[in-house]
Symmetry: C2
Subunit: 365 residues, 2 copies
């Protein structure tokens, strides 16, 4: 799908407002190709204007040209100049929609004083289109997944070598770069032992990985702005009976969760499948987070799969399935894949083996 | 300064509100030591409560204990449960302050319906204290600067080896990790040639660095959550007369800007010193951004030094001084140091030499 088609689809969702003022930078990137850290887009039935600051004027013009986006770029060298551009561009409109989830209370108050048009809160106008990934976006995410798969395949056999969490993180992130990633998709998680691995979002420390530990590795790559996301859990040495029991439990929940992903199913239903299996085994209290989230230009985006998510999965949604169990004194186990919803169910984009918590052999290549 | 002292200082700024609801995660980290990606703090005259989700309950309790923060941690496993905790915690108060710049229009609307207390917009209550760095924070930033200095000293002599922008970025980021950084302070900028270097915030590409190019390298390290920030510009081979003239102009402006940094001076005045020198030489239109910004737990924070900044510098502010000139067809030149305001003026934290655009010799160690 071209950028022009994206813009046209959003235009068809404008509803009652005469123009949409887009302030979320991810939405702006998806609409125009512009990747700068400062910008606003005014979109109406006939035109598109991007307002940015002096650092990004040339870049914005070039990126919009490369994206085939017809529109003007205006530069405001001060906050007041930027505001004046936005006010001018919407003068004469009766109603201008703004992104209520992405505009601060303070920003809205400033705008409400300055704009002649009335400001109308909107929710998810761009995101409603952005969450459905086209083939080009899925291809970028598949490449990101393949890079993380490969990096983990090379690094995992070394987990018994006495490395620290931070050293493993460094090896993974360096290797992903060498394999063509722009960078890691997020702060790589390497969490080991009975304390650190009990924290779902632990940050790597100088703690060495030891025999008998569980090690959670949550790693993804960034390619062309798109994220991958995968978690695998390993046990160093022979797993204890409890480690094995809980690994098999989490894996069974994760496999069932992936099997439940299909068009028309809600995020709550996918979460319920995973949560039910873990709760039935008596470990419901150990599963302390939601089952999954959408991934794309952001690492966390719509749709979510958790206990309260009413979002209905659609073909083209890309979501994680990642149940886990955590308990201080035991450690933690999480297994996560990234999947794209298809008419037949879903396609799994992450390919690193998950059938066992034992360390893999080194690649033979 | 201890975390308890930080909390007490913020308490003294509460003014008319009975409690402050802190939603900015950087402010929460600075107040409590908590580093998770989801959390809210309620602070009043007698207590502090942190509300987070199921991923972060144990982590929050441990980080607050380690920080010596007395307070309770409440876990909300759904958005509704989190909101209920916040409503309960503020019940009976007549006025609760919220951070107007960090709360979305939508979030405020939800809160306004749910809270019994009246919600009062506040601005910069925590930031007003957070911008002044204590000795421990300055020490972390000095270490981050030293790591970036060292990485650049090792990599810069290789700029004439035909590497691409992305390869230089990778070398710098890997080396900073090896030297003890948590990661890069921001996406490292390596911008070369007459087109890319003309973009102040260019992202590294596969463009090779060639004889005759200017190369802008903007690189910093992250240590203990604190950022460093430095830019140097090199010319590969013998600089042309224009390259030399503009390098000397930018350097003169930058040196004068650093000399202007002292307590009581405004951001606008520092900017004016740099801008005046560049404008007097006839290149005012080529200097397309502000002169500097505060740095700390964020890479961009108060105080700013630009054409409209009324912020008055105080002892303990850490700010960049980074004038530059950019023009498509020529390329760009920027020189940036990170400095901490002292009673005597300022101390420069970044130490990589800046007197010449020519490549340095390899380190002799």
């Amino acid at each position: 799908m071209s950028y022009s088609q994206r813009i046209d689809r959003v235009r068809q969702r404008l509803g009652d407002v005469d123009a949409l003022l887009v302030s979320d930078l991810t939405n702006i990137r998806w609409l125009t190709g512009f990747t700068g850290s400062s910008g606003w887009v005014v979109l109406d039935a006939t035109g598109l204007t991007l307002v940015t600051d002096g650092r990004y004027g040339d870049q914005a013009a070039r990126q919009m040209r490369d994206a085939g986006v017809l529109g003007e770029v205006l530069v405001g060298r001060t906050g007041a100049a930027t505001l004046a551009h936005l006010v001018d561009r919407t003068a004469g409109r009766s109603s201008v929609g703004f992104e209520a989830a992405h505009v601060s209370f303070q920003q809205h108050a400033t705008w409400a004083k300055a704009f002649s048009a009335s400001l109308a809160p909107t929710a998810g106008v761009v995101e409603g289109e952005r969450r459905i990934k086209d083939d080009g976006e899925i291809e970028l995410m598949a490449r990101a997944c393949a890079i993380a798969d490969q990096a983990l395949a090379e690094v995992a056999p070394r987990l018994a070598d006495g490395l620290t969490e931070a050293q493993v993180r460094n090896l993974l992130e360096i290797r992903m770069r060498e394999l063509g990633a722009t960078g890691p998709s997020y702060d790589t998680i390497v969490a080991t032992g009975s304390v650190n691995a009990a924290l779902p979002h632990h940050r790597p420390t100088d703690t060495p990985i030891r025999e008998g530990d569980t090690v959670i590795i949550d790693v993804g790559a960034l390619v062309g702005g798109y994220h991958s996301d995968m978690t695998r859990t390993f046990v160093i040495g022979e797993p204890s009976p409890l480690q094995r029991e809980l690994y098999e439990l989490v894996l069974a929940a994760q496999v069932a969760g992936v099997a439940a992903v299909m068009p028309g199913v809600t995020g709550k239903e996918v979460d319920g499948v995973c949560r039910g299996i873990i709760a039935d085994a008596g470990y419901g209290e150990w599963f302390t987070h939601g089952t999954g989230h959408g991934v794309g230009l952001l690492i966390h985006e719509d749709p979510y799969a958790n206990a309260t998510s009413e979002a209905t999965l659609q073909v083209g949604d890309v979501v994680t399935v990642e149940p886990g169990v955590y308990r201080e004194g035991f450690g933690g186990i999480r297994v996560e894949d990234l999947v794209v919803v298809t008419s037949a169910g879903c396609r799994v984009l992450t390919a690193f083996p998950k059938d066992s918590p034992c360390l893999p052999s080194p690649p033979t290549t």
